[in-house]
Symmetry: C2
């Protein structure tokens, strides 16, 4: 066989599978209700465990008050409201072609429209909110965001459900966290409900960008930046709140996040956050210092960083996710452990939801407590660590296979168990997000 | 007397003094050499202590290697050079009126031109550097700088000397620190000398913006931001290095920084940096988390924050400055103490210069060591703290008068001593910066 022949055959086989997969996805889309969907659902249920009966879990308190009556600082000025929203639609020539859902990478492509609202203290507060064609931002080179990292963001997703409807997942929690980040950054707060309505309208306008598949979604990036054009480390009296949308597949290139687990570098010389800092806010300043460390981890062949804190090497986060450990405790029980919200850890919405679900499910003991590398290591030696996984909006649940810590590889058997808790959690969340079950966490936006 | 009369009189008096001061400054300008200048110099020497004979101090090693042969990462690509610089001058209608030197606030006004050079990895590295009329930056809303704080900066000054010539102060140290910040941020490094030449050219072009007075200077803000328009916490493969200029008076509004000392809030619940973090780099991410704390301090009536670290409440920095304490040690010697460069502290160039000068001066013992609030408190009680001051580019040396710590006011007699060390250091540095003495640290740019 020629070299040409050698390379062509696998290519053709792959292409056939690709086309098959696309047809299969199109069938799902076509049959938003009906027999096929039911059949697929049963198939999935056989394949992956789920929590069969999802009740509305009793809410444990979230870190930030999720409350419609948000308490703004007294000098904040005028709020913006959805009723003021102006919409300027892109012309036909401005519309971009939609990508194939299978080709999506994380955060590389953006939709046709964006949302934008400015804040100027000297003009009385928030200005008129607007949806417009996606455009560049024009910033003074002294804008505070460019010098002092006066910036924060949120990560949300819109899902196209099996019924064709588009849903957000607990958006009120993102809003509560975003306002908390704003207060900590000296930036103006906003009315949570009004902003959710504006975001929903934006997603509606770009609804054809919400992928028609359950392997992808539309990532939503609300962003708040300080744009006052003066040097000097101080509150920004002008700000810009905007939102862009990006259709996304898996977060990690070449890894759907569930076929194999990720490998972690746990190097105690690096710290993500510290007491008296802002590790519990989604501020830009928490991320820049991690890039170099992530690069180091990649160079050494690891996919993510396991962030440790303190002389006792407490686990805090993994990459940009919260971390969970399923272990067998001293009383022989299966215990699902995640570090507590002590200021070092981002209060994740997927984290919170997993805690809600797992407590409702009641099949494992659920604990928010400190867990150290010494404990993990000891339990790995005794075969008592069953699973480890990350949890976050971008990848939902991401299983962990290996940790490199103090010149030692700790193998975690996360992928070895067919009825793993991480799969149960992941599939239950996906069921809610893609509307396979009715649940109050999933908000239909149309 | 009428109310009108009551308010008018001080106004007139102040105006007379202002006009006198301006005339006085103009005289200095007019007489770049000559008798008046000599006379003034003698007057000043009588008024304020200085180190009379400044030799070139023996260099103690700076934190970052200050070396012409900077070691770039191998995949950095092409460097930019001064010889490539393109200059596009502002038209006459684009030129702004220059402000009165006495009216200057910190960082509110900018000059007519800026410097800009882009980096694109896929285009082979650094692009063509350019000086152009000051203009807004156009950034994609997904630019990494706006989400993950991929940004860093430097603070430098150009001084108009008593001889009318313009000088920079140890610019090679800013460049070394900036490259170190870039490496830690996953941003591209540059050739230090080439960038200094470009900055010098920019200052030359806007030379009429360098205030004609020794109470003001031209602040230089080199800035490096990551502009790759993709979400995902990772190195930015595109970047923008730019420089803007701002004529500045004192850093603190309504306080020249030397007539009265500043008051500090020392609240151990807030931390500026921590081991394993980036407190020793001039990255934007170090500043955003401090704004809220500074706001708190202001609300409580304090001018600056004294940053503490650890359970023993070590002093680290004050506001955005390094901190010095002059005390009488257990051996009865005057000892000038500053915290060591242990990763928690920005390696300040003024800090380094004060250490150089004080060691050369040899009138006080000079120590880089940990100092805690317990020690400061004890020594204040025993009247053994003589002075405390901040040191930084923006305010050179800033005396401290009071620290509020754990519900207690600690009064520091910094302002009470007429031949204070802080004045000696400040005046010696100003002598060098304004060319009253010849010194290799002051680089003439024209």
């Amino acid at each position: 066989m020629s070299i040409h022949g050698k390379t062509m055959l696998p290519y053709i086989v792959r292409k056939v599978f690709e086309i098959q997969h696309k047809l299969y996805q199109q069938q799902i889309r076509a049959c938003s209700t009906g027999r096929l969907q039911e059949a697929l659902k049963i198939e999935e249920e056989q394949e992956f465990p789920k929590i069969n009966e999802i009740k509305q879990p009793e809410e444990s308190s979230f870190y930030y008050p999720v409350d419609k009556k948000f308490k703004h600082d007294p000098d904040i000025g005028e709020q913006f409201s959805y009723s003021q929203l102006r919409v300027r639609l892109a012309g036909p020539h401005q519309l971009q072609p939609k990508p194939e859902a299978d080709d999506l990478q994380f955060g590389k492509l953006f939709t046709d429209h964006m949302f934008k609202v400015a804040y100027h203290k000297r003009l009385g507060g928030w200005q008129v909110p607007e949806i417009m064609p996606l455009e560049n931002l024009v910033l003074h080179p002294a804008a505070k965001v460019l010098h002092y990292a006066v910036e924060l963001f949120e990560g949300m997703k819109a899902f196209r459900g099996v019924d064709g409807r588009i849903r957000l997942f607990r958006p009120e929690m993102n809003m509560a966290r975003m306002n908390a980040s704003a207060q900590r950054s000296g930036l103006p707060t906003f009315e949570p409900e009004e902003f959710v309505k504006c975001i929903s309208r934006l997603v509606s306008i770009d609804q054809e960008w919400v992928p028609h598949t359950e392997s992808a979604s539309l990532y939503i990036r609300p962003t708040l930046i300080g744009i006052e054009p003066t040097l000097g480390v101080a509150s920004s009296e002008s700000a810009l709140l905007y939102t862009i949308l990006s259709p996304v597949g898996g977060y990690f290139a070449g890894n759907s996040g569930t076929s194999t687990g990720v490998s972690l570098l746990a190097d105690p010389q690096y710290t993500r956050s510290w007491p008296g800092g802002v590790g519990d806010r989604k501020m830009g300043s928490n991320y820049a210092p991690t890039i170099h460390v992530q690069k180091e981890a990649s160079k050494q062949g690891f996919q993510q960083v396991l962030w440790l804190y303190g002389d006792d090497h407490q686990l805090t986060e993994v990459g940009t996710m919260n971390i969970f450990v399923l272990l067998i405790n001293d009383r022989g029980e299966r215990e699902l452990v995640t570090p507590p919200l002590n200021g070092l850890i981002l209060p994740g919405i997927v984290r919170h939801s997993i805690l809600n679900l797992a407590r409702e499910w009641n099949q494992v003991k659920v604990t928010e407590r400190k867990i150290t590398m010494a404990e993990v290591k000891k339990l790995v030696y005794e075969n008592r660590v069953l699973e480890m996984f990350g949890a976050g909006t971008a990848c939902v649940v991401s299983p962990i296979e290996r940790i490199f810590y103090m010149n030692e590889n700790l193998l975690i058997p996360t992928m070895e168990n067919s009825d793993a808790v991480w799969r149960t959690m992941r599939n239950t969340l996906l069921d809610i997000q893609y509307g396979r079950v009715k649940h109050p966490w999933a908000i239909e936006i149309d």
